[in-house]
Amino acid sequence: MAELTQFFNRQRWQRAATLMMLALLLVLPQWLLHVDFADALFGIGAGWQWLGKNFMPNQAALGDLGEILHQLGRTIVIAVAATSIAGVVALLLALAGAKTTSRLPLVQMGVRLFASCMRNIPFVAWALVLLFSFKQNDFTGFLALFLMTIGYLTRAFVETLEEVPRGVIEALEVTGARYWQIIGQGVLPAVSAPLMSWLLYMIENNIRDATLVGMLTGTGIGFIFDLYFKSFRYPSAGLVVLAIIAVTIAIELTSTKLRQVLAQ
């Protein structure tokens, strides 16, 4: 009985502590940084109003549509290519890094460390480093996305591969099958749906990020947005934003649909 009382007391205390923490997190920034959440709420509204007034695409902006779509296309191609190639590299790394498919603890640790490093360097940093190495061109943007994606996908693939039950691999080992036969006929078919799902999710994300990377590396859709914005051609910049929104929504819908089909 005493134990039960203690249990509920502790639960009550934990709830109270959680509430206090939340309250503190809400009050603290206002007090420290003089951020007023109420003000921010209205401020965002004002920002939208300004955007709506100045960024509304007009007749002149439509003249830029050809160039915008061309750059958008290039950006998508770069994002898809960078993600797909990174996916292949990440799969090989993950095979060496997952406990289920690798027998070498040292290699497993090495792969995890490498993936973690790649992931934790923000792509802004990648873009800047690569900009100095390769100058302004599409390849720089491609590399920035490629390197960052390897980190993310290796981590995701390692976790997916580790969900394959040990027994399933064992069942193929005892038939006398060799390592790459077990990988090709057993492990990959067992995880292909979640792997594809991760890849599609990453492509979706990278098309969004490619825009930002492009601003930094001076390529693709990000670059022309930057160009229009800085030369005060707001209606054209607005058209770029609309085009990006349309494409990301379309890609997200397609990839959701594809993932549903894969899950069956």
Partner: protein, 251 residues
């Protein structure tokens, strides 16, 4: 003929898995291994195809000694030993037929096996085996969509695809309902007779061992304490097999 002698396995934590185990098994028979939980049934079964490596003794399959085989030679001998599992261990997103075809991976070249390039004969053989286990109509269904009993029969067909001399069964019916249990045990018995196989089954149910086995091995605390036909399995013998393990068994 499978002959095991003086087999001893000690785990890294010092626990004795098997102590001086010896027996022999004839083709065309079903052998049941019974005994209390933790007695060493699974250790024994997994030692027979070297998923575990005992540190002393002999495992003789035909004229091949298995305990000391290096990896490459071990792979070749393993093709002659099929195994089925409590959890079936199928690749669930693949069809029943593809799972059965996995049984011949050990015979194929590295590249053909890796890419799943099976010959027409192999595909025909896999289909015949599925028909033999009563699943001819389910060949193209995903393994994941089958019932437990059906999955286990796919597992058996996969083991048969190896054209084995021995089939090891690790608690093959522990997750099955009574009707499926009967189907699977009958199938194993029939296959043993028709294909002159040595079927070795870890069992928890003594009545099933009595009904289906030709030969019963009783294991207690890592030792063989009973090695005879089901007719000799008296209440006294059973009490001996299921006696509380002696302290001495844990080193």
């Amino acid at each position: 003929m499978l002959t095991v002698s003086h087999l001893t396995k000690t785990y890294p934590n010092g626990k004795r898995g098997l102590i001086d185990v010896g027996f022999s098994i004839a083709p065309g028979s079903v052998t049941a291994i019974i005994g209390p939980s933790g007695a060493g049934k699974t250790t024994l079964l997994r030692s027979l195809n070297r998923l575990l490596t005992p540190e002393a003794g002999e495992i003789q399959l035909g004229n091949q000694e298995m305990r000391q085989l290096p990896p490459r030679a071990l792979r070749l001998v393993r093709r002659q030993i099929g195994m089925i599992f409590q959890d079936y261990n199928l690749i669930e997103p693949l069809s029943a037929l593809e799972n059965v075809l996995h049984g011949c991976l050990g015979r194929k070249s590295l590249a053909a096996g890796m890419l799943g390039l099976y010959t027409k004969e192999e595909k025909k053989q896999a289909l015949t085996l599925l028909e033999e286990v009563g699943l001819g109509d389910y060949a193209l269904q995903k393994a994941g969509s089958l019932s437990g009993g059906q999955k286990q029969r796919v597992g058996i067909a996969r083991a048969m695809m190896q054209a084995p001399q021995v089939i090891l069964c690790d608690e093959p019916i522990a997750s099955l309902d009574p009707a499926s249990t009967h189907t699977v045990m009958t199938l194993l018995k029939d296959l043993a007779i028709q294909h002159d196989l040595m079927v070795i089954i870890n069992l928890h149910q003594v009545d099933l061992a009595r009904e289906f086995a030709d030969h019963i091995l009783g294991v207690n605390a890592g030792r063989i304490v009973f090695d005879d036909g089901p007719a000799a399995l008296s209440d006294e013998a059973l009490a001996h097999i299921y006696a509380a393990p002696e302290e001495a068994a844990y080193g």
